[in-house]
Symmetry: C2
Subunit: 459 residues, 2 copies
Amino acid sequence: MLAAFALALTLDQQKVIDEFTTFLAIPNVATDKANIGRNADVIVAMLAKRGIEARLLRIEGAPPLVVADWKSPRAKETIAFYAHYDGQPVDPAQWSTTPWQPVIKDDRIYARSASDDKGTIMAMLAAIDRLRAKKATPSVNVKFVFEGEEEQGSPHLDAYLEKFAHDLEADAWMLCDGPVHQSRKMQIFFGARGVTDVEITTYGPLRPLHSGHYGNWAPNPIVALTHLIDSMRDTNARILIPGYYDDVVALTDAERAALRHIPNVDDDLKRDLALGRTEGDSLNAQILQPAMNLRGISAGHVGAQASNAIPTEAQASIDFRLVPAETPDSVRDRVERFLASNGWFIVHDTPDAATRIAHANVVKLVWGAGYPPARTPIDSAIGQRVAKVIASALGSPPVRMPSLGGSIPMYLFQHGGRTPVIGIPIANHDNNQHAANENLRLQNLWDGIEVYTALFGSL
Amino acid sequence: MLAAFALALTLDQQKVIDEFTTFLAIPNVATDKANIGRNADVIVAMLAKRGIEARLLRIEGAPPLVVADWKSPRAKETIAFYAHYDGQPVDPAQWSTTPWQPVIKDDRIYARSASDDKGTIMAMLAAIDRLRAKKATPSVNVKFVFEGEEEQGSPHLDAYLEKFAHDLEADAWMLCDGPVHQSRKMQIFFGARGVTDVEITTYGPLRPLHSGHYGNWAPNPIVALTHLIDSMRDTNARILIPGYYDDVVALTDAERAALRHIPNVDDDLKRDLALGRTEGDSLNAQILQPAMNLRGISAGHVGAQASNAIPTEAQASIDFRLVPAETPDSVRDRVERFLASNGWFIVHDTPDAATRIAHANVVKLVWGAGYPPARTPIDSAIGQRVAKVIASALGSPPVRMPSLGGSIPMYLFQHGGRTPVIGIPIANHDNNQHAANENLRLQNLWDGIEVYTALFGSL
């Protein structure tokens, strides 16, 4: 029994906390094979206790995928609820508590995966109990799908969906991961931006040169790189590559209408982040646009290590966020065509001296893989049903986001756009996700239970 | 006896090599107090052997300054010949030989300071012998001044010149350090660019942010920095700050005429350095212009360490090369006024959150000290005499450079422009100065002896 004195918990709530605490106490880094297996087994047991038989789907080298079907005699369709049971690696030195020893402090429970994403699984299990207590059956066939390596980038999710296509067939997917809106309002999202990245290297002299003797004669690779970057993006988030926005599908009327109802948190965030300005439009609008972000830049030395030399090369790392109908290929193509038209000679491997002599401006581009964006119509029938059920469960309508700003591989569940995919996160936004002192605000857990109870029972 | 078989040396040359080898065998890093003292003592002994009494001037904490006056009954003026006896630190692992065990290989002698700058001292000593052998006396009073911490940035040179103003009085200074022209022609230089530097920091959010959720809304400090840099300099060496070149004194007719006679080595260097283009005009012309060089840039992470985040700050390091009549103060003033007029709020210490919130664009500038450029008129009487003496000694006129591209504190010897200062280097340009396998081409040593013999005897 944890912290029953400090908080005025109902008996039901205390039972949830006890079960949750046991679940959170199992270390769950995906690469820790023994413990990740224990987590899967415990989920199977928790479902079995509720009369739902789960099975472990397996692919060589991957944590098992926990799948369970809660069928209903009155159901006409199958809705899959996705969550993940693995968590980010931990650096215990950074934590105030012990990552896998859950502690309740003030209004929150602290543990690795409390919010990302075991809290979601716990809320679903408690929702089953609620429905059972009311002697109700689900309105749809509920399919639970719990992944064990989301925090590693879901390297086998594609293979699972292909190999077990029949087990994983659903009329729609609910992705239950991520945080609610910064305003603490419940939110549902209908898409995610895609992502790709590129490492850019520009070249100066073959060996570092004395900046006095050669400094405004031998080309400086940093200056070449800063001009390359600035040719692609202004300081107001706008990507300057001609035609770059031609690939962007305009927001629908329904998406624009939803956008108007998303609370604006710009001022709060600006204060919190010590920002004297922001780029582009409001945050809500910006995350529906393509983005080019400088992740890093490096050349020569700064500070105490700086010496009066011209470096031999300069490197920058960029990630692009993609919106429909951009793809990693379309971005790569636009960037390379733009740079070539600006006089850059593009290579994909480190150029030799002969190549550097032969071309005035050589740039090496090394692209990451990335994946495309996904978007489900915000006014789709299932989208409207989900929003309505949540509104009636909580007494106020959820924030409806046309898309997350971040990237998750929603496109995998979409099957080329045929299957609607909606995100239904329950965690507080200030949950220290991926960092030390991860936590779940208890009110978010209780709200999550309400939401999933309503969705299972009334969708 | 070193390598007498391999090279056809005269007896005189062999004697020079033997004495030089002994001199080079004494380690000479300025911070190695015991050995640096031994070097000074050996120089005193080598001069004494030639009937010239040297004295060691001392300032607390600094290597001694070796000063000797070789007076002449027929002299009407005193000409100081400066060189330095300390060398750069060594990394023996990088050397093919042992830094302080001189070795002759092919046409060169390899050792730390062989070229920078003990070779110069050796050439002067041998020149004394030459003159003595001819029973000649110097045409001027020759003052030898040998510094022991040039490679540390001459931190006490200013103090020496002030404290021992009487001992160090001269009608003109010959700075005997550095390399001859890349064409292997003897060169003399009449100035050096000044130098100053600045560390620039721009700011993003107070903590790193997820680039998907905040990426084209929270300002990216790298993008702010690249635009700041590009507003100051183009890719063709031109500094874009309005009025920046107003401080530049135009070349005199004599300097322009000299410039036309400097061999153009651009094509050779481009091949050697694998350059597909160069900035601005020819190298010879460029080093007479102000320069802004990016020494380094750093923010976030590139390559394998890159993560999809917006970094909290970005830093760049710049060195400026100054030509008459720029000064470190004038450069600082122009840069800061330009940035302020472009909307930057300039701070010199790390700004707090309140400052970052209060201003849209905050930049921290931390300036190094630096020093001004120096220039002696290329058509001054002493300049013409030096060129004429060298031309008649070697049979062809030396390259006359209005200024070095690099920076040496020539201004200290100028006493506010009253005293002419001319650079007379003898080392080959490909001497691996400051690096492993430093070497002096023997022909440069023999030419150096000719040059100093002529200067001592006929200036």
